[in-house]
Symmetry: C2
Subunit: 309 residues, 2 copies
Amino acid sequence: MKNFADRLCDSVRLTQNPVVVGLDPRVGNLPNGLVGSVNAPTAEQAAEGFKVFCHGIIDVVAPLVPAVKPQAAFFEQLGPAGMNVLADTITYARDKGLLVVLDAKRNDIGSTAEAYAKAYLGAPPASVWGADALTVSPYLGDDSLQPFVDQSTRAEAGIFVLVKTSNPGGRTFQDLVSDGRPVYEYVAEHVEELALTSPGECNYGVVGAVVGATYPEQLTKLRETIRHGWFLVPGFGAQGGSAKDVAAAFDENGLGAIINNSRGIIFAHQRPEYKDKFGDNRWQEAVEAATRDMIDELYAETPASALKV
Amino acid sequence: MKNFADRLCDSVRLTQNPVVVGLDPRVGNLPNGLVGSVNAPTAEQAAEGFKVFCHGIIDVVAPLVPAVKPQAAFFEQLGPAGMNVLADTITYARDKGLLVVLDAKRNDIGSTAEAYAKAYLGAPPASVWGADALTVSPYLGDDSLQPFVDQSTRAEAGIFVLVKTSNPGGRTFQDLVSDGRPVYEYVAEHVEELALTSPGECNYGVVGAVVGATYPEQLTKLRETIRHGWFLVPGFGAQGGSAKDVAAAFDENGLGAIINNSRGIIFAHQRPEYKDKFGDNRWQEAVEAATRDMIDELYAETPASALKV
């Protein structure tokens, strides 16, 4: 196995694009029929619907993109039944050749952080959940991040540390200014330090950063601070971030950033652009069309075009 | 039902102490025989051991203390099998009359934060996991906390926001100084605002703060900032915090703070003070002795003595 940063480079080069499809299943948005004809499904019925839905998306996008990003919260909302489907979804995606970035924003202190790291990071038996990478929250500080770095190094996995999030409230504490620099810049500097301790052959380390597409100026600045960490960029599409907004996240080879889209792809059957053409019955074709359209947008406006062979 | 802050007041008054028993099961520390005679247990075998262990602790401490705090990471480390036991443990503790503070340090943005809140907060059917309270990370800002406050208000539940954590690395970002005040003070001010919007009859609101016992000076100062939020205080015992260190967390009635002890109580059978007397076979008696000793320490050194009738 190669380290995670290199595996991500390989997958982005192989698929010739940096799109991550976010798996955020919601009962109210599933295509008709996916939770049967049940009006108020039980957790088990909803979980079964999530499973069919996630498999259906993975089947479509596995040949197209380098990675998927299951959002843990939506599976957790269904209790243990949802957790079974989360485990199944991760395995199914891996088996189809996709990298799996689990978006769970975990962290804790000391041996508890280690338990999270060992729970999620690395192909089984390195971890039981088997994600290739995990999103991690930085509030608990440097010693809370270290166990995730250590496990990533051991298990050919990676982490993305929250640096500048895409929501309006990302400003509340992340933008507090200390000695002339915002808090998120301090987090970014620490991410760069950690990335440098875990280098791959492709210039990047196994520690990356979550940087929202909705703050393009800060994203540009953060790319200068973090020169050796992959960016995981949420906020594209439904949240308002455009292809132009994320252009600065890439290096000149089209590497260094993966761009997530969740609702815009997985619920494409409900979007005006695709609804009439595909509708609920052909929802998987809507997923494919939305994925291909996003790839084209990135080709048109960002250095991701350098990936086209 | 009453709001969570009032329910916590009632439970602390009823049991006459503020001790929270942390449920942090680890395979290597379980009393002999609890995972059978298996050397390298499977996740399912370990989960079964966790279940027996957690039930055994809850049976002992339910008549003694107001609350337990399961640490999600240790259950998550066992995969779906562990999540089943987490759900079972929460239900078992609730059924025995304990309040359950789930230590999962969750958060995300917008509708994803809402999914976490609805996943965990409130007695079923308000949530599927059924915790009375949840620990929440503040890095994502004010709009990320609001869904947890809303769900808490709807479902008679509560949250504890990470303010000043007990680990050495808690300093890295929490102590950055902005305009003369550390970042954690800004978080504390926001906690106080939220607590004031959700008041109970006992002076406290449903939004509280996690403040480590290992930083007694900061704890004293934070009590001045947060006058209407409960403190959940980790770091007592194994991490070095003493009864004196947590004294300032209480109001004059012995309310306003709950003090967590995990390893010091649940693995008391391994501590020098209890090992010879009880050993592995009588591990539940060690749990009881360690709990009673902690209560006495708090009576001797803190305003918790006011709770004694």
